[in-house]
Subunit: 205 residues, 2 copies
Amino acid sequence: MKKEKVDRRSMRAENSIKKVLEAAKALFIQHGFKDTTISMIAKHADVGYGTAYTHFPKGKDEIFLTIIEEVIADFYVVANTEYTVNSKEEAFTFIHRNITRLIELSVQHKKMLAVFYESIGISAATKEMWQDISDRFIQRIAQNVVQAMEKNIAHRNDFDEEIVAGVLFYTVENNLWKIILDQTVTPQGVIAHNITEVYTNGLYK
Amino acid sequence: MKKEKVDRRSMRAENSIKKVLEAAKALFIQHGFKDTTISMIAKHADVGYGTAYTHFPKGKDEIFLTIIEEVIADFYVVANTEYTVNSKEEAFTFIHRNITRLIELSVQHKKMLAVFYESIGISAATKEMWQDISDRFIQRIAQNVVQAMEKNIAHRNDFDEEIVAGVLFYTVENNLWKIILDQTVTPQGVIAHNITEVYTNGLYK
DNA sequence: AATGAAATTGACATCATATCAAGTTCTGAA
DNA sequence: TTCAGAACTTGATATGATGTCAATTTCATT
């Protein structure tokens, strides 16, 4: 019951797409986002210049987005993890585990994420993608801030959940970028532990 | 004892520089960083295309940096403010005041800061400038984390001061950008208060 | 008045993007 | 089997931005 593609035309197309993506991935990692051009990609992929535009009409942005999407998917999984905690201690454990998970993901995809970081400033499409992820993370964290207030285990019951969620998210985010860009020598465990400690003490009583 | 510039040549040059900067400022605010070109600036400034490069050899980056420098100077003042606190309550008051100050500065220079934000992703020079400011802020805050530990008013005495400082800095930073980019409806007082509360509860006992 | 330094200028070389008309390959209907 | 036309490929080209430079003008000094 296989539905194999014996269609030689679409096989040819698939092959072109694959070659473009593979060449692009190597070049992005080697030269970064800005300094990788469509003609470089086409040349390395051994396809005509126009071919890149045939399959990726929006050009470099679209090629890069296609490549980065699978990396980002991993982060979405974390961002979408539902969770419930009943005490400060439980929260500490949970948050610490999630930060550790994010650090691991960042290290794992370090090279492409460094390019992603560069691209956020340059490509509107990428910027939007990161904005979406950020919002999702913040909304997820905010839900737990609300839970904490409802369960009366937060310092106050009138916290603005989004601002409080931002404390955790933005701190983690920026530390992840530092790890990705090799801009820190602080051990990852120290980073995870300190952030978790300050945040849980800050929110929970 | 005036040392007036009666030198007509340098007056002419000064005038060209002034015209370029004024035109650039208006165009940057109107069109943003990326969509403002040197030829637009030269045309609006009513000088030749090459004149812009005569006075600003590094082009758009240098023109923008010159314009934004005075805005940034205000932030440096805050980043360099020495302070000492002896209790959690004092810390709360101090931090809350500083955040409020930063919010006020951001609102005051909103339009140029929005362009600045865009430029950070595009211009290496601008990115470096913001990196410097960030580092300075973090070092300043870190000093106070160390103080808190020395005075034994922190939850722990083995916090990593830079990571903890980052909790405050990155949170404030990102909320300022949201205000500057009109991406939040949360009242500024609520923002300042929530951040201060979570951070001081997080660090001080 | 003559000299040359300072300042101005726009043409030009360079480079990247995006489009497109022309050519080639392949499928499916007649 | 044939062949019309869809799918795919291709590089030339238009567009637009940057940075450089040789020619020119303005001006201070001798």
